[in-house]
Symmetry: D2
Subunit: 155 residues, 4 copies
């Protein structure tokens, strides 16, 4: 079987502060620099910033959209997947990732972290939900991606 | 429009301790005594104990199953719904409840709590995830159901 | 294991002619007279007429809704299940039925017939898609329900 | 908004004859020659043959898998998406395509054709379900892809 590149789910809110946006962009850049594929929910905020960063470094980005139209994707998504499933699409993001990096995030992000841990996938938190048991806390974007790679290699 | 009875999602692990099982059974009894409909994931553990309690008091129970066969339902489910959607069925339990009561629970339960809070539905926690922000902590089964009714009336 | 009543999926368009509506109502009545549970998509047209008929005869009706609110259900649905999954909810109607009766219907109905035949569930067609291979053609509502019962008993 | 390449859903059975396999491979080649993206269910039979053809011509292939593991994808899928949703994933293939080409196919394929027509997406049939109303009948693989491009441009 061919070896797939590491696929990293980047999760976080569809609207976010400048600070989180800047962190997410750097996470996206670092994933692309390492040759990883970035998968996310395809919308704005953290998702858009991460995709933008990945594209700056020539990475590949996938957006798993809640709605029925691929045109809902942010402009940095290469492969938009329209599910029409609403929030149930969160499960698909998790199932299709080797490892997840949460950048801040609220309840939607928590649902994805919970599914990841249920499915035995490692989770790195940069801000946000980093007090949860069984997640890895990251100090900064480079640390987050480094930890994600180490965890993906082990699992 | 006709007024539906209060529908309470009871969430928790498919395998659980005697203590949690006993609490869940009492939660189910109390929901039925108040005329509520109990909805859950339809499997064992907390789900089965809650359904058993509800049936002891003549209540109605619905199980939203992850698999493709209605025969996976525990014997106390009146209305088994087979989804074939795996863990994505958690969203349906939440969407179809007025209020959720979590009895203990691990990651799957956390995903349901997260969806509930995302969708603006109140959550009462009996043990388990009661340290989360925005959930109501219950002291015992009767307190849990009482709080659920109060919150459902407001929302 | 307890024996569940026969669960019949009644499928058809959300808007329909008086003729189809009248046929669907009679299908619903006949299902209820035989003690079956009626499951459907929960909306208008054929779904509403079938539920209305079932309630006239004291039957139980379940509506698996595409949207996020149980209040979208027609007034004759006893148990509304809100999925938020859009048309993907069609799979759940089929998975949760022992046998399906299609009353007229267009593309959505065809998707349900196709899933039913894929899953090995019998399909009875009253008008509409009755030229398809592997479906049973019914002459009238009573014939449709009679055939459904016979097929459900065999499968 | 950036212009996405045409995305073509290629649908058909997971096991198929040499003849259909050969037709599907040529459909995949022709989609790639025109710069289209091929999306499919990611498994064997028609799906695998179409992906193999697309890769021979340097195309990009996406597989929307029913199971929970990306490793279920056939070896010619570039972007495997694991949904864990079973047959409900058919909706996602349709939602994410501009146009669909069915190569032979049985009930699963019919469910996808039905969803496509429900969602207003054009369908080209090469063998199989070409007697259905509202689908375009193709004479051979090149004709199928040509018709798909014409229809996608109009819709």
């Amino acid at each position: 079987m061919k070896k797939l590149p590491v696929t990293v789910g980047v999760i976080g809110s569809g609207e976010c502060s400048e600070e989180l946006s800047s962190l997410a962009r750097e996470v996206g850049r670092e994933i692309a620099r390492r040759g990883g594929i970035l998968i996310c929910g395809g919308l704005g905020g953290v998702m858009e910033a991460a995709c933008e960063g990945a594209k700056e470094e020539g990475g590949l980005t996938i957006g798993i959209l809640p709605g029925t139209s691929r045109e809902d994707a942010n402009p940095y998504v290469d492969i938009p997947i329209a599910t029409g499933l609403g929030d149930a699409r969160n499960v698909i993001i998790v199932r299709s990732s080797d490892v997840l990096i949460a950048v801040g995030g609220r309840w939607g992000t928590l649902s994805e972290i919970a599914f990841a841990l249920k499915f035995g996938k490692p989770v790195v938190c940069l801000k946000g939900w980093d007090m949860l048991p069984d997640v890895q806390k990251a100090l900064d974007p480079v640390d987050a991606v480094e930890k994600a790679w180490t965890l993906a290699a082990k699992s």
